[in-house]
Structures are given as structure tokens and as C-alpha cells.
């Protein structure tokens, strides 16, 4: 009683948030955050200052050239769009269908399904170059001679991000309350109707967000495409699934390897374009998530 008399409410509680140990903890958290952000800031600052000299329309309109003055990344930008678009066409239907099967229809207790589930998670952690090798071996086995075609590149990138799309789609489906499925089934809908008309539409925002983020990962990949022999010097626009192509990361990789300083500037400028595209895709994902966010 005596001690409580001497205390007022403005007295700091023992072990308050402002004592030494919590403060050390906060400072460590802040430091970690700043450390990560500094890297991003340095990188952005570096490529923007380096590339600003060539960050003009020529990047978008010109083809690569041996003379850095006349060179641009037009085929690489178009190639990236072609390859990522084709990847999306392959991955989204396959990934969403697989996730629907695993989440809504497969018997979760069966050993085969648990084995598949664990392996999907493992596949998401496999390095991208391994998928390049896999695609290379697979296409060779099929007897595809020229592997530097849009559809082959998209195939390799699809292998890479399919597990990510499956996992994020399953999470989106799991987030749909079971009451919605029950309500549909109680009206006499079949399980398939319930999935297609109720569960899947309710999960679309999550599926779209997950797929876009996975595709933006694929957009930055060079290794699997290099293994397939992607061209580094393309002087034509890709014009179909069987067309040759190059992509922005490959173009950047190529220009960075050149001795002339002007090509390094071009590489930095192309990096800025690539970053811009990535930011747009992530922005779209955030927009979709906020716009269609559901209260249940």
C-alpha cells in the first residue's frame, strides 16, 4: 500500500516500453529496415543517374546496334511482353486448375495428394536455372531444334512460377469462408457449380494478385532463357509464339558485358524501364487487391 501511494499514473511503469532492452530491440528493427531500404535506394539511384543520359524514346524505338548511339531495346521490351504474356496464358489456367483440384476436390488425407502438396512447395524453392535445364532437356527430347522461340521461353518460365501460382491460388481459395460453399450446396448446387460460381469468383482478387506477382518474378529472369539460347542481338520484332526473341534482362546482361561505357549506360537505362514495368505490375496487383477486397 505504501508504495502505491507514492506512485501516480504518470510514473513510468516498470518494464515500460522505454526501458533499455525494448529500446535496443526497436533500434535493431529500425536498422534492419533501413539496411534493406538503403540497398533499394542505392540501386535505384545508381541506375537512374547512370542511365538518365540514354533514358529517352530511342530505348523504345531503336534496335540493338554495334554503335551505342543508334542502339535501343525495342525488341527486348517487345520480347519481354511476348514471353510474359505467353507465360501468363500457360500458367494461370494450369495453376488455377491445379489449385482448385488440390483445394476443393482432392482427398486431403490421401498420401498421394499430401505428397503432391509437399512437392509443390518444394518446387517453389528450386533455383530458376534448374528449370532452364529441365526445359532444355524436355524440348530436346521432343526434338525441338530451335529452342530460342517465344513459346519455349514461356514454357521454361511457366515451370518456374507454376508452383507459386498454385500456392497463392490455394491460399486465396482457402480464404473464402466455408459458409459460402455451404450456402451454395444447400441450394442444391453441385460441388463443381459451387466452385465455379461461388468459391472461385470470391477468390479472384487473391488469385490475380498472386499471379501478377509471380509473373513479375518471371519478368526479371534471365538464366533459364539464356540456357535455351535466347538471342542477345535481335534486329527484328517478335511476331508470334514461334518467333525468335530476346528479353530485357538478357539485353541488360549482354550490354553490361560489353567493354564500351556507352553500352553500360544503355544497360542502366533499360534497367530503369524494367523496374518501371515491374512497379506497374505490382501496382496493378495492389490495385486489384484493394478494389475487390471482400468483407465476409
Amino acid at each position: 500500500m505504501a508504495s502505491s501511494k507514492s506512485k501516480t499514473l504518470t510514473t513510468r511503469a516498470t518494464n515500460s516500453e522505454y526501458s533499455l532492452r525494448p529500446m535496443i530491440f526497436y533500434v535493431t528493427l529500425w536498422f534492419s529496415l533501413i539496411f534493406g531500404l538503403m540497398f533499394l535506394a542505392t540501386l535505384l539511384f545508381d541506375i537512374i543517374t547512370t542511365g538518365s543520359g540514354r533514358l529517352d524514346l530511342r530505348i523504345f524505338t531503336e534496335f540493338p546496334s554495334s554503335s551505342p548511339e543508334r542502339a535501343g531495346a525495342r525488341p527486348a521490351i517487345l520480347g519481354s511482353i511476348w514471353v510474359i504474356g505467353t507465360t501468363a496464358l500457360i500458367t494461370v489456367p494450369l495453376g488455377v486448375a491445379s489449385a482448385i483440384h488440390l483445394e476443393e476436390f482432392a482427398n486431403k488425407k490421401s498420401r498421394i495428394n499430401r505428397f503432391i502438396e509437399i512437392n509443390v512447395q518444394n518446387l517453389a524453392a528450386v533455383p530458376s536455372v534448374v528449370y532452364g535445364l529441365l526445359a532444355l532437356a524436355f524440348l530436346s527430347a521432343l526434338g525441338v531444334g530451335d529452342k530460342n522461340i517465344v513459346i519455349a521461353g514461356a514454357f521454361a518460365l511457366s515451370l518456374l512460377i507454376l508452383p507459386v501460382v498454385i500456392i497463392s491460388t490455394r491460399e486465396a481459395l482457402r480464404a473464402v469462408p466455408v459458409e459460402i460453399r455451404m450456402g451454395s450446396l444447400a441450394l442444391g448446387a453441385t460441388p463443381l457449380q459451387t466452385t465455379l460460381r461461388s468459391t472461385l469468383p470470391a477468390a479472384v482478387p487473391g488469385i490475380a494478385t498472386g499471379s501478377i506477382l509471380a509473373l513479375s518474378r518471371a519478368l526479371g529472369e534471365a538464366a533459364p532463357l539464356l540456357l535455351l539460347g535466347a538471342l542477345v542481338f535481335v534486329s527484328f520484332d517478335p511476331n508470334g509464339f514461334l518467333s525468335g526473341y530476346t528479353t530485357m534482362p538478357i539485353q541488360i546482361f549482354n550490354w553490361t558485358g560489353r567493354p564500351q561505357e556507352e553500352f553500360h549506360v544503355l544497360a542502366a537505362a533499360t534497367s530503369v524501364v524494367l523496374m518501371g514495368l515491374l512497379l506497374m505490375m505490382n501496382g496493378l496487383a495492389i490495385f486489384i487487391r484493394n478494389k475487390f477486397q471482400k468483407r465476409y
Binding site: 488425407k109 469462408p177 459458409e179 459460402i180 455451404m182 450456402g183 451454395s184 450446396l185 444447400a186 441450394l187 442444391g188 448446387a189 453441385t190 457449380q193 460460381r197 461461388s198 469468383p201 470470391a202 471482400k294 468483407r295 465476409y296
Partner: protein, 279 residues
């Protein structure tokens, strides 16, 4: 087991009151979840265009029984029904019976309002679309269903708005409208008012009385006043310990006209429960 048999007298001797025009009859129904017996030896009959209330303390198996009546229990892992449940003379757990068809004819309203994340209009039209009903005019079909559920006047100007914008009571009436839209022959309600305030509860009760002119309704409720207000017949369940396993299992204690259950019950446990002495 002996304990159960002794306490089960009302069932064992089939002292079920005359239920004229029974639409559905239960004969020695046991429901299991895996090895666990949730409900033991229940025999009941639901009269056509009557409201039957299932009451009893938590864990007495009343919701389990309800979900067995339209095979919603099939969706629970390991759930199994033993005994006979006949709907208009047909055994609903017989081989070859399509649970989808059972659910189309026996609709269900849940404890928590669960409209689809769609417009009010699409919530009503959903059942018609999935069951392949082809009303000559979907607009009239939606209006008719909402009118029957006493919701039309409140929502007629916002049919295209998301159903989540409605209040809890309105959402529950929307769920009832959605259920009656597919023209079921029987409606099961699992504590439909437990998430609602008293005013919304009274509106749903009025609606249930109106609907009982056309539909057979079975309602599970924790609210004894609600059973007394709306139900024609009331079944009182309780939970007993199985001496062998120590598991608790639900049994039917007494089933009769509602006024008998509340004013003149035969079983001491029913009297204790309805007078608030236990449960």
C-alpha cells in the same frame, strides 16, 4: 449402454405423438463422427406444413440431426448416419439417392447469415441458375421470392447492390428468400436468429409463421421462448454420458405438441429444462 436404454424410454416405446401427414420420419437414427456417436436412437416425425423446433442444451446433437436431414452432414469428414430417415416415404440415405437432389428439395438456412458476395438479385437468381430452373422472367422470379421473404420493399431499389451492404437481419431474410426461391418442400433452419437482435428475430419468426402455410419447417433453437412462440411441435434433446466410453451422446427425451412440452411435460428433465432449472 444399459443407462442409455433406460433413459431412452420415450423412444424405445415409440411414445411419439400422432403426427398427421408426416413428411419426414426418423426411425432409430444414430449419427457418428468417426467412432464417436453424436446422436443415439432418435425417432421423430415432422408434420406437413408444421414448424417443429428441436431444443436442448449444447452438445445434445440437435444441429447434427438437422444437418442429417438434407445430407449436409455428408460434407463433414467421417460423418455417418445409421437408421432410417424417410422423406415422403423414400429413404434419403438409400443407395442411388443423389444428395444434390435431396438438398434441392430440402433447403437449409444457417446460423450465421451467409449471403454470397454478389448482388441481392444474383443471390436470389443463384438457385434458379444452378438447378436449371427457367423462370419465364427472372425479374419476376426475384421479386416473388423477395416478397415471400418480406424483404422486397426494403431492397427493391438496390437489387444490384452487394448483399453485404444489408443489415444482419436483412441478410438472413435474404438467405431465406434464396432458399424458398428454389421451391423446396421443406426448410431446415439452424439457429437462424442467434446472430440477430430481438427486433430482427421477431421479424424472422413472423416470416417463419407465414412460410409454414406453404412449407414444412424444422428449426434448431437455443431460445426456448422462440420455440414456444413459433413451433407447433417441439422435440427436447439432452446429452448423456455413454458409460462405456465416457463420450457424451445426444438423445431425444420428449417430443410432443409445443404447449404440452412447455406446460405439461412428461419427463422431469424436460420440465427442468423448460423451466430454466438446467441447461
Amino acid at each position: 449402454m444399459t443407462e442409455q436404454r433406460r433413459l431412452d424410454v420415450s423412444n424405445g416405446d415409440r411414445v411419439i405423438p400422432e403426427t398427421p401427414n408426416a413428411v419426414m420420419t426418423l426411425d432409430d437414427v444414430n449419427v457418428f463422427y468417426g467412432k464417436f456417436r453424436a446422436v443415439t436412437d432418435v425417432s421423430l416425425a415432422f408434420g406437413e406444413r408444421e414448424i417443429t423446433a428441436l431444443i436442448g442444451p449444447s452438445g445434445c446433437g440437435k444441429s447434427t440431426i438437422l444437418r442429417s436431414l438434407n445430407r449436409m452432414n455428408d460434407l463433414v469428414d467421417g460423418a455417418r448416419v445409421q437408421g432410417q430417415i424417410k422423406f415422403r416415404g423414400e429413404e434419403i440415405y438409400a443407395k442411388g439417392v443423389d444428395p444434390i437432389e435431396v438438398r434441392r428439395r430440402i433447403g437449409m438456412v444457417f446460423q450465421k447469415p451467409n449471403p454470397f458476395p454478389k448482388s441481392i438479385y444474383d443471390n436470389i437468381a443463384y438457385g434458379a441458375r444452378v438447378t436449371g430452373m427457367k423462370p419465364s422472367s427472372m425479374d419476376d422470379f426475384v421479386e416473388e421470392s423477395l416478397t415471400k421473404a418480406a424483404l422486397w420493399d426494403e431492397v427493391k431499389d438496390k437489387l444490384k447492390q452487394n448483399a453485404y451492404g444489408l443489415s444482419g437481419g436483412q441478410q438472413q431474410r435474404l438467405c431465406i428468400a434464396r432458399t424458398i426461391a428454389v421451391k423446396p418442400e421443406m426448410i431446415l433452419m439452424d439457429e437462424p436468429c442467434s446472430a440477430l437482435d430481438p427486433v430482427a428475430t421477431l421479424r424472422i419468426e413472423d416470416l417463419m409463421k407465414d412460410l409454414s402455410n406453404e412449407y414444412t419447417i424444422v428449426i434448431v433453437t437455443h431460445n426456448m421462448q422462440q420455440a414456444a412462440r413459433v413451433a407447433d411441435r417441439t422435440a427436447f434433446f439432452t446429452a448423456l454420458s455413454d458409460e462405456g466410453s465416457g463420450d457424451r451422446t445426444g438423445v431425444l427425451v420428449e417430443y410432443d405438441k409445443t404447449e404440452k412440452i412447455f406446460n405439461n411435460p412428461k419427463d422431469q428433465r424436460t420440465e427442468d429444462y423448460v423451466s430454466g432449472r438446467f441447461g
